[in-house]
């Protein structure tokens, strides 16, 4: 007999979780391994418990299911994902076109069995397309970084700046600095109204700019909240920066 399929259940509504849990426990060769109520918990638990399949609700507070799946796709060995939803017309269309597994709540036992048998791992391209079609848009609320011990989720709201450096981008965050493999250009596109490019190699959070200072050669520098050093603003982008700051006030 092969090992039982390990299943993680993520839904923000306790009754919805209870029901799925019961259904899973009643199936042969399936093992319920854990449950959670947010996208963040989905990632943490997936990292710790290494489930084979996640039943993932779409509409959740904080990080939603689509974004969680997007981060999962970056895992080395991501679990298979089956989305669950009570009613999301846009999502159903998206799932059909991307051929992603999904279940409609209340979930039927036979459909759950069939979906588990056919469940696939999310791919990056698939999830990026899904995210684009979701009401939250392609914009992530968190950025996932993997340290040696654990998976860290940095809320985008708290990030001070992205600094490009050769091949990597460094995230400046109050809890420290982290490297990610993404281009500054794509980050700029994704987080556009809240982050502004001040230099070829620097994208900073408008909300965390504490001061814009004049420097000796007539240019500008930006000081970010909780930081002593200043970041140079390139001559070409100074005007745009000031305009964006004024537009915010």
């Amino acid at each position: 007999m092969s090992a039982a399929l390990k299943i993680l259940i993520i839904d923000d509504e306790p009754p919805a979780r209870d029901r799925l849990k019961r259904l899973v426990e009643e199936l042969d060769e399936c093992q319920f391994v854990g449950e959670g109520g947010t996208g963040q918990e989905a990632l943490k638990l997936a990292d710790e418990l290494k489930p084979d399949v996640i039943l993932l609700d779409i509409r959740m507070p904080g990080m939603d299911g689509i974004e969680a799946a997007r981060h999962l796709a970056d895992f080395e060995a991501p679990p298979a994902v089956i989305f669950t939803t009570a009613y999301d017309q846009y999502a159903l269309d998206a799932f059909e076109t991307q051929a992603v597994g999904y279940l409609l709540k209340p979930v039927r036992r036979e459909k759950l069995e069939r979906a588990l048998a056919a469940a696939t791992r999310p791919t990056r391209a698939q999830m990026a397309k899904l995210a684009k079609m979701s009401p939250a848009g392609a914009r992530r609320t968190h950025i996932a970084v993997r340290t040696r011990e654990e998976l860290k989720l940095l809320p985008v709201d708290e990030i001070r700046a992205f600094i490009a450096d050769q091949k990597y981008v460094t995230i400046r965050h109050p809890a420290g600095e982290h490297l990610i493999e993404e281009s500054l250009r794509s980050l700029e596109d994704e987080f556009n109204p809240d982050f502004v490019r001040i230099h070829r190699s620097a994208l900073v959070a408008l909300r965390h700019i504490e001061a814009v200072e004049r420097v000796a050669d007539g240019g500008y520098a930006v000081r970010l909240r909780g930081s002593v050093e200043s970041l140079t603003v390139s001559r070409r982008l100074g005007g745009e920066l000031l305009r964006r700051i004024r537009a915010r006030d």
Binding site: D12, E13, P14, P15, A16, D18, R19, R22, G37, T38, R59, P61, G62, A86, Y87, D88, L104, K105, P106, V107, P135, A136, G137, T141, D157
Partner: protein, 360 residues
């Protein structure tokens, strides 16, 4: 940051009651009015020296010119007129009608003076006195013009009312419960059926009551007490699903429960507060439903905490819900209701103001 969404005026064109004077139909109506006036004048004059048909032909020709002239002038000035207030535009149109009449009367007098001899048969067709002729024309055109404007105004208002009522029915249909809620509730009930059959039974009863209220004649006005009861049933179902995350505080002890309100006034606001607020907050929050009486006006407000970064597409859904309540309030209390939404970084508040009309 505050964004009052007062009842939006309709697009300029539909609120403006004057018809398009360039349209053939309108020109026809004006000419017809002119011809009827000509007939009335001929019938009333009883001039024995003149053959009835000749006199009528004269009057008809004279009024035809006035009618066409008026239509032409009004056609040319309609666009700038539409920008004025209704009272000003009406006064201006009336002045134009009198001016056109005076101008054509003057031309008729001049024509008669220079081409015909008084006393001849042709001369009888033209006015003899100058001043009194002009004055009479001006007065008659003023009275007939005012009546015609009144006629246009009343038909326009009537048509607009019919349209608004039809639209409001559609809006009431749209105000009905989101499918999202229905399927989530079904899922909750499916879960409770085994774990807590008694709760499941209550939830089915609540859901039935809620849908009965939702499917009833959408235009009906109901006592506030009933509307709040529907909202409370809705709250109970959502509590099963969201558990501790949802809290609702009712501060409605000071409002008269017999006040009449359009149905589905509070429940959709509570639904929005949960859908856009509570449900999107990991720790949930408290919705505050408050009401107060202020003289003969009632104020109802629904306040909820919101997440930092509301999804833009969902905000659109909220805007539609608000527009739809605005419309239905406006239909129930024309010109006397208001709706205002206030958004701060952490809170969203919708406040409705409307006259307190109590059940006898």
């Amino acid at each position: 940051m505050s964004a009052p969404t007062a009842a939006q005026p309709e697009a300029n064109n539909s609120a403006f009651y004057l018809p398009d004077f360039c349209a053939a139909r309108t020109v026809f109506v004006i000419v017809l009015i002119g011809q009827l006036v000509a007939l009335v004048l001929t019938l009333a004059s009883g001039d024995r020296d003149l053959d009835f048909w000749i006199e009528h032909a004269r009057n008809a020709a004279f009024l035809l010119w006035i009618g066409i002239g008026t239509a032409g002038v009004l056609c040319a000035v309609r666009k700038p007129l539409a920008r004025l207030s209704i009272a000003r535009a009406s006064a201006l149109v009336l002045a134009l009608i009198v001016a056109v009449t005076a101008l054509i009367s003057e031309l008729a007098y001049r024509l008669g003076e220079s081409f015909t001899q008084p006393g001849t048969e042709l001369g009888q067709l033209f006015p003899i006195e100058h001043g009194p002729f002009l004055l009479r024309g001006a007065l008659i055109s003023f009275i007939i013009g005012a009546l015609a404007l009144r006629y246009f105004f009343v038909t326009h208002e009537w048509r607009r009312n019919v349209e608004m009522e039809a639209r409001s029915r559609i809006h009431a249909l749209q105000a009905r419960i989101r499918p999202h809620f229905l399927f989530n509730s079904m899922n909750t009930i499916a879960a409770l059926t085994r774990s807590d059959p008694q709760k499941a039974e209550e939830a089915v009863e609540d859901l039935a009551d809620l849908f009965r209220a939702n499917l009833s004649e959408a235009r009906a006005q109901i006592p506030l007490k009933e509307e709040l009861e529907v909202a409370r049933i809705y709250q109970r179902i959502e509590e099963l699903r969201l558990g501790e995350r949802l809290k609702v505080e009712w501060r409605v002890n000071d409002v008269p429960m017999r006040a009449l309100v359009p149905s589905l006034l509070v429940q959709p606001l509570l639904e929005n507060a949960i859908y856009h607020g509570i449900e999107r907050l990991p720790a949930g929050g408290t919705v505050i439903v408050a009401g107060e009486r202020n003289g003969d006006m009632l104020r109802l407000s629904v306040a909820n905490p919101i997440p930092v970064d509301p999804h833009p597409r969902e905000r659109e859904g909220n805007r539609i819900a608000i527009a739809n309540i605005t419309q239905r309030l406006e239909l129930a209390f024309p010109g006397r209701s208001g709706i205002e939404t206030t958004q701060t970084a952490e809170n969203y508040v919708v406040t409705l103001t409307f006259p307190c009309v109590e059940l006898p």
